[in-house]
Amino acid sequence: MKAAILGATRGMGRSLARRLAERRERIFLLGRDPEALARSARDLEARGAPAPIGTAHCDLLEPAGFEAALDAADRALGDFDTLIVSAGLFGTQDALESDAARRAALLAANFANTVQLCEAARVRLLARGGGTLCVFSSVAGDRARKPVVLYGATKAGLSAYLEGLDHRFRAQGLRTVTVKPGFVRTGMTEGLAEPPFAGDPDAVAARVLRALDRGDPVVYAPPIWRAVMGVVKRLPRAVLRRAAF
């Protein structure tokens, strides 16, 4: 595998990148903070990934830089065959309702710009006969709920796009793996009330890696969330309108 990863400095992306490193996969890191990228690159090298691990600036709020970032990954890896996107923004519903700038950033980063990045990668991967797009969406995109109206909407759109991509291009060799994490204990969810079935990033990474190996189109992690969302998706509107979750 030759994987370019956006989001490997933190959370689930960090755990997934470490598992890839321990398998000696070739890795290229994309991200915003050069210091954090360098530290994560050294970490992954020490854990077994072939050194040196290259890094390039890539910010989901700056779509103009996507092509240059993917160019850098291609140069370093000799054409990447996998793009993993675990980066994304999060805000509580209250914060997003009251802060228009933050809302605009989240809507752009999580949906429009993530799609643009995937499109840029899709073109490259199809041109070289296929590859894998592994993108972190969320169970919040499975059903609209009060605490995640805006965040959930971005993830619903993203999940729909990724499913469509899978239908349209799998026959041409482009595998799309949509990751739908439930509540996972990371820096992103710190300070939030922890619901039942909360998971840890390393367990999520193990599930995602298995899905990457098998080419599963959708992976819920922790796996219990597939059943949880199966129920939530079937709840009548009247129930969800009254429910607090």
Binding site: T9, R10, G11, R14, D33, A36, R39, S40, R42, D43, A46, R47, T186, G187, E190, G191, L192, A193, E194
Partner: protein
């Protein structure tokens, strides 16, 4: 989570205070303006708990990146939150181990420095600090410094065993030990009484790099202090199995047991049974977890003690005194009914360079004391009196109940430590519940 109502405690869950952890992935930025940092919260008492004036503690466990490793020298540099468990997992198969291994692998590099931890090999390897080459620290005035024994010897040495009170440890550079295999060759030796135990522990320590003793502390009279020695060394490549050893939690204590379960009668039954289970056996090959971290296979084992929590108590009684300190200690312990399910004796080598580093040449005794209101405090007071008389000291990492006047009486090094603290932190910015209780810091 309503931050105002959450609770935080050390591993002994005594005391429990209001507070919560802040757990950043980027430690350095988050460490500015913080009063106290903690790792995995495995110190037992109040060392990793905030002073009453704040409810926030910076937790390092998500700052766990390996920044450099040189297989030629074994020198590792990593962020402070890297755990000993992870060091086993990543470096064991490559032929390296931490030079000092604590009773649990769920500790961080930063915590190992702040407690200047020791292991079963203290008599040959010294404390963890002896192997630390450099620290990157956020010092109390806000600067971030590279601290070594050459450029800032006072700060470097005060930070080893300094309980996190001299600055926040961001990165640790330490020399790992080269090992032929991560497996161990071990022996168990049963011993009939305390005199024989101390004598065998001392003599076997000359032959074995890793040695500790478990003591039945419920038997009085002739069999007082009977127990067994656990001895080990790393296996050679020829002796060791090819497969990597297992490192995991196999069972969990799902909830707090009722407080009456761990009581003197049950501890007595456990101690007698445990003693008879450990007969003298010849060499066996075991993994690092059962040998170094035997309790790690039970997740949340502290819940066995129920909600009241327990007090760990560990002291070292020097050889320099009349040599009867250990006997007097156990006489007082058994007379006062201080039953402890797990009591461990260890032979300590020379004192480390940490200003407040715990070990000194002598016998270290560690006890788990289920908390009993009114009783446990009196017991700790009585044990501390024995320690003071013997010229020994207690281990702050385990402590929850020692009185400040007792600490002063056993710690002539305290003045030096406080002097270095005052120099680096004249406004007293860094504090913990422990420093308020024992060092007279403002809350």
């Amino acid at each position: 989570m309503n931050a105002g109502t959450t609770k935080i405690a050390g591993w002994g869950r005594l005391p429990v205070v209001t507070g919560h952890e802040v757990v950043p992935e980027e430690l350095e930025a988050a460490s500015a303006g913080v009063q106290l940092a903690r790792g995995l919260g495995r110190s037992y008492g109040d060392a990793s708990l905030p002073a009453a004036s704040t409810d926030r503690v910076l937790c390092t466990r998500r700052a766990d990146r390996i920044l450099h490793f040189d297989p030629a020298t074994g020198i590792l540099r990593a962020e402070a939150g890297l755990s000993l468990q992870e060091i086993h997992r990543v470096f064991g198969p490559r032929g390296f181990a931490s030079p000092v291994l604590t009773g649990t692998a769920y500790v961080t590099l930063g915590g190992m420095v702040a407690s200047d931890v020791h292991g079963k090999n203290h008599h040959v390897a010294g404390t963890f600090g002896a192997h630390v080459r450099a620290l990157r620290m956020r010092v109390p005035d806000g600067r971030v410094l590279e601290v070594t024994d050459e450029n800032e010897p006072d700060l470097f040495r005060a930070t080893q065993g300094g309980m996190g009170l001299t600055g926040h440890i961001l990165e640790v550079e330490v020399a790992l030990e080269r090992i032929e295999s991560p497996w161990l060759v071990t022996e168990v030796r049963q011993v009939p009484d305390l005199d024989a135990l101390v004598e065998t522990l001392t003599s076997e320590s000359r032959r074995w790099p890793h040695a500790a003793a478990w003591v039945d502390c419920t038997t009085r009279g002739r069999g007082m202090g009977r127990g067994y020695l656990s001895l080990g060394r790393y296996a050679s490549a020829g002796e060791a199995p090819a497969a990597p050893p297992e490192l995991r939690e196999r069972i969990a204590v799902p909830f707090d047991l009722p407080g009456w379960v761990v009581a003197p009668w049950s501890i007595r039954i456990f101690n007698v049974g445990w003693h008879h289970l450990h007969r003298t056996t010849g060499p066996r090959i075991v993994g690092p977890q059962p040998f170094f971290h035997p309790l790690d296979f039970v997740r949340h084992w502290n819940r066995l003690y129920g909600q009241r929590g327990f007090a760990q108590y560990q002291c070292v009684l020097p050889y320099a005194s009349d040599g009867r300190g250990v006997q007097r200690f156990f006489e007082v312990l058994t007379r006062l009914g201080g039953a402890s399910p797990v009591s461990v004796l260890k032979n300590c080598g020379p004192e480390g360079r940490g200003v407040l580093s715990f070990p000194m040449p002598g016998v270290s005794v560690a006890l788990d004391l289920p908390f009993r209101r009114g009783h446990t405090q009196a017991l700790v007071d009585a044990l501390n009196a024995v320690v003071i008389e013997a010229g020994g000291r207690i281990y702050l990492t385990k402590d929850a109940l020692t009185r400040p006047e007792h600490l002063r009486a056993m710690e002539p090094r305290l003045a030096r430590f406080q002097e270095i603290r005052r120099k680096w932190d004249p406004e007293g910015r860094l504090r913990s519940a422990l420093s308020v209780r024992l060092l007279g810091d403002a809350t």
